[in-house]
Symmetry: C2
């Protein structure tokens, strides 16, 4: 089978690497000449708005998927006329707009922060009065890794935030003083079968995920998260992996956002789960039985942001697995990750204390 | 780092797939246009006796290794003048000739079957009288997967075996009525550090490996095997993975043969060990710390010979991991393998009963 992927970043790269053992071929489409998945897969350099490369990918592939959700709707439509495309267009569309996403969460009974849409400075000021500070102003579209967001703590932040973001439709959310952040990774196959990975605990800095730990032993939250994920999977008629990020406050989940794709907080599954998220996404879109999502021991995944840690130092840590994405180092850029896996959670914690300083944090930074 | 591999079969393919996560690039050299590693790595089609493709590989690579041991000595010499080459030429040379191999085993105190060299029918007849039937006649060079071998059970087999194999130098071995076959996979790094994988129990049919199970809980044999492996690694100044196959008779190991490379009986390590044999081979030749060889639960690896089993059926087995090599099906050809991994050995056994019929065996074939 030939699998086409729109987007050629690290997610596409890890999809290809997970799929080769099953005998499949991969081709990625990306506008950037140095798209890192192009190092390990066939590569079409082209714009997502240009029909020619999309047609070339559709002609070659038996099935097409995405490594990001902000695919132009027209691109998905062009592909969908010629080849099987997963996830479905609606899942992409909902994930592209925070208002649609929140509306869907609300319809499905998934708790969300109070919010208001904002299209003018006046609306922003009135929404701030209604929600009360602190709040978070976010662009409705094209936000990721903390981009397109401003936290409003005092009245003086209002106008600056409007100046920075006000050229596009916005949403204002009540800031959630959360105790933890967690995520759920769920997979649905073409026949409607579903599997769910153990709950993951996440830590961000500057809007970027830094550390994920799994399995996060909070059975009640896990069941609640799986239940919300099931509602979304079924409502969207989703096929493939779906990730949902939650805040935890007062022992309850509050949904932050979803991604209809493999997700950074699931990278630990490569070594830490019986079947990794990348393989299960491929199994789902290719109509094969989903694999076990059971954790194999305990895992901690640390992102390498901006630059890679030194290989020898990392590989001397027991249970360390090094993942370099083949990307040019640049401040703020995700260029790799390291997963620590061990049967004993104490070994993971001990390794983490040594690993965190290698990627620019204190040993107890997320303790 | 750029890693060149002489030979583009499934071992090269799995080396590349294990190495991409570490950010390395791979290029393989193989005479066959459809060499299966060429589907996942840069590819030079060329003859091992032709200097031009060898020079091209050496010019591109930071280090060169092999996916088979029968590399022409001249090819290794040409490469070695221009680029770091591992394993060392002596390890390749010894593994290419059963007489050299047995002589080395004998020198190092590693038990071997009684044997005699044979260069004429008269020598064969006299050797058979000395060793007594049953015996095994083998070509000294270029044997693999049972090719170049004949078992001699009665006097009538002698002349037929000579007719089949007698055009090249031969060796006659006393047939070992073994209870089990096992193998040891060992790794040595460039500084002389060594690690050893758990003992593997192997089952062959028609000279081809069919089933490997690990870890094989026979502590005394494991220590003995590691000791022999250590002697070989040090004597050869080996760098990379070295595999040794043994017969087990009366509770002792008798060495059958060695391979100075990653080995079929180590494929289970992809899912079943903390660091797989492919990654550890690469870590060794690239001067990085070796990874833990500890087993993660229990594993059984089954080869797919001639044709691949049905994907859906295999993937519905708990803990099954499917590996297709991208090779055209052909009788007797290794086209893939399946590994069953679970924390509970009973789950592996139960899965094996269902898996074996999918690759043409009875459920209790190797019980």
């Amino acid at each position: 089978m030939n699998v086409g992927i729109v987007g050629g970043g690290q997610l596409a790269r890890m999809l290809a690497l997970a799929g080769y053992p099953l005998g499949w071929q991969f081709q990625v489409l990306d506008p950037a000449a140095d798209a890192c998945a192009g190092q390990v897969a066939r590569f079409i350099q082209g714009d997502y708005h240009d029909e020619t490369p999309l047609m070339a990918l559709a002609a070659w592939a038996d099935v097409v998927t995405f490594d990001f959700e902000n695919v132009p709707a027209e691109a998905a439509r062009i592909l969908g006329q010629r080849v099987a495309v997963y996830p479905p267009a609606e899942a992409l569309a909902v994930a592209q707009d925070r208002l649609d996403e929140k509306t869907l969460f609300w319809e499905l009974g998934i708790p969300i922060p109070t919010f208001a849409t904002v299209d003018s400075l006046e609306e922003l000021q009135s929404a701030v009065r209604r929600l009360e500070l602190p709040t978070v102003l976010k662009t409705r579209r094209l936000g990721y890794d903390g981009k397109g967001q401003r936290v409003l703590r005092t009245d003086r932040d209002i106008e600056a935030a409007w100046q920075a973001l006000g050229s596009v439709p916005l949403i204002l959310e009540k800031f959630v003083p959360f105790e933890h952040e967690v995520s759920i990774l769920a997979v649905r196959d073409r026949e409607g079968g579903t599997v769910f990975y153990p709950l993951v605990e996440n830590h961000h800095r500057d809007g970027i995920l830094r550390l994920s730990q799994a399995p996060c032993r909070k059975p009640e939250l896990e069941q609640e998260g799986w239940d919300y994920a099931r509602r979304l999977l079924e409502r969207l008629n989703h096929v493939g992996v779906l990730a949902i990020e939650f805040f935890v406050k007062d022992g309850r989940l509050i949904a932050n956002e979803m991604a209809p794709r493999v997700h950074n907080s699931g990278h630990w599954t490569i070594e830490g789960a019986e079947t990794c998220q990348f393989e299960n996404h491929l199994r789902a879109i290719l109509g094969l039985p989903l694999g076990s999502t059971a954790a194999v021991g305990h895992s901690a995944m640390v992102n390498a942001i901006g630059d890679l840690p030194e290989r020898s130092a990392v590989l001397s840590l027991p249970g360390a697995h090094y993942h370099a994405y083949g990307k040019t180092p640049r401040p703020g850029r995700k260029v790799g990750h390291v997963t620590l896996r061990a049967d004993d959670p104490g070994m993971v914690s001990a390794g983490l204390e040594r690993l965190l300083p290698m990627v620019g944090f204190r040993p107890d930074e997320f303790g």
